[in-house]
């Protein structure tokens, strides 16, 4: 059997115990079309039937529920975690009835969709982003810098002093950075948050003007407390402060 480059999983797999579906992106979208009734069950590739995901009457009910949330959510959030070498994504989707899914790509470029609940997302993200209570140095201030300084100061070859003691302290504690973008269905991104986790220097929100290409842009690092980080991440996930037009 010949597969397209983006077909992904040669054997799509549904784990009913852990409510987890491993599948290629294209096949995930095919299942969504069957769930929506725009594709007949008989018109899907044989591998989806052979994996028990599609039967004569439609998509397997557990898979259908996962697909309904993952592909047709009321709100979706893309989170990306960067440690200086690897960028790891997590795709969160939820519906007002409380059903939610997390989706991650695996090493085979398939997508692994796992069922969860909206009420559990907060703790899952705290764990995934290491937003845990810890001692933070007092007296932190806003720091103005730019992308050139940051790239010169923090790289794979180590850290370099910048001449700004406040920034150097942040760089000394630099652990990882993460960003989150949220949007309502059929809407553009309405809320975004980018945060540097600087260990004992705590969390710092990254504010910057729009960047067109690779030109240097000024960056403001705004200190956040644990509660502020969680509240602002919650804004992205829930969309509670999003301004949405009436179009």
């Amino acid at each position: 059997m010949t597969e397209s480059a983006n077909t992904g999983a040669r054997v799509p797999h549904l784990d009913e115990t852990f409510m987890q579906l491993t599948i290629g992106y294209d096949d995930l979208l095919r299942l969504a079309d069957v769930v929506a009734g725009t594709t007949a069950p008989g018109d899907v590739p044989a591998r989806l039937r052979e994996a028990g995901l599609v039967g004569p009457t439609g998509v397997h009910p557990v898979a259908a529920s996962l697909v309904e949330v993952a592909v047709g959510p009321a709100r979706s959030v893309v989170l990306e975690r960067f440690d200086g070498a690897t960028l790891t994504p997590l795709f969160v989707a939820w519906l007002p009835d409380g059903r939610a899914t997390t989706s991650v790509p695996n090493a085979d470029r398939d997508v692994v969709v796992t069922a969860t609940e909206l009420g559990l997302i907060r703790d899952q993200l705290r764990q995934w982003l290491a937003i845990l209570d810890r001692p933070i140095v007092p007296g932190r201030e806003r720091i103005l810098t730019d992308t050139t300084v940051i790239d010169a100061a923090v790289s794979a070859s180590g850290v370099e002093a910048t001449g700004d003691p406040r920034l150097d302290a942040v760089i000394a504690g630099w652990r990882l950075a993460w960003r989150a973008h949220g949007n309502w269905a059929r809407r553009e991104i309405d809320t975004s948050l980018t945060v540097v986790d600087a260990g004992p220097q705590g969390w710092l929100r990254v504010d910057h003007p729009p960047r067109e290409g690779r030109e240097p842009v000024p960056v403001t690092l705004v200190p956040l407390t644990l509660d502020e980080v969680l509240a602002q991440l919650g804004d992205v996930v829930t969309g509670r402060r999003a301004r949405v037009g009436n179009d």
Binding site: V71, A177, R186, S192, V206, R214, V219
Partner: protein, 175 residues
């Protein structure tokens, strides 16, 4: 001492070519036979053979010398139909020969590849392997992701962006 034939090929070598042509004539449509033959010959061997035939002196002392390119091409496509033949890997090996630094060699590889892949025979696995390896050779690589680009979101779309973009545009309305 071996007697030399007029074309500069000794008789023993000419005899080997005769046998090769005869074998290919008989077997070139049989996937199983050709799978073993091309797995042994490899992409580099096929290119070497075809470039010798195409760009070397004519070998009138070898019966069917002019038939050899078509027999090799048809044999390769027969091999690609065999489940035991790694057609994608062969296609990828073929594309990777284009990474050679020598310009003349690249031109030869290009001509041979065009002959093998664009002559009316299209094996999906062979072409898929070739296309992917060729893309990897020719497409510009993403610039390395830096902290500055990550923090300011100037690092471009990621593979999983497809799903996010699809979901942003798509909502199955629960009527």
């Amino acid at each position: 001492m071996t007697e030399m034939a007029p074309g500069g090929v000794d008789e023993r070598q000419a005899a080997r070519f005769d046998r090769l042509v005869a074998v290919l004539r008989r077997q070139h449509r049989r996937p199983e036979a050709m799978a073993g033959f091309f797995a042994g010959l490899g992409a580099r061997g096929v290119v070497a053979a075809l470039s010798t035939i195409a760009f070397g002196p004519s070998r009138e002392d070898v019966r069917g010398w002019d038939e050899l390119p078509a027999l090799l091409r048809d044999g390769l496509h027969a091999a690609a139909r065999s489940p035991h033949f790694d057609a994608e890997g062969f296609g990828a090996d073929l594309a990777e020969l284009l990474a050679e630094e020598d310009e003349d060699h690249r031109a030869t590889v290009s001509a041979v590849t065009a002959f093998l892949l664009a002559s009316g025979h299209y094996d999906e696995r062979l072409l898929a392997g070739w296309s992917r390896a060729f893309d990897a050779l020719t497409l510009p690589a993403d610039p390395p992701l830096t902290w500055g680009s990550f923090l300011t979101r100037s690092d471009g779309p990621r593979p999983w962006s497809d799903l996010a973009a699809f979901v942003r545009a798509h909502r199955q309305d629960a009527a």
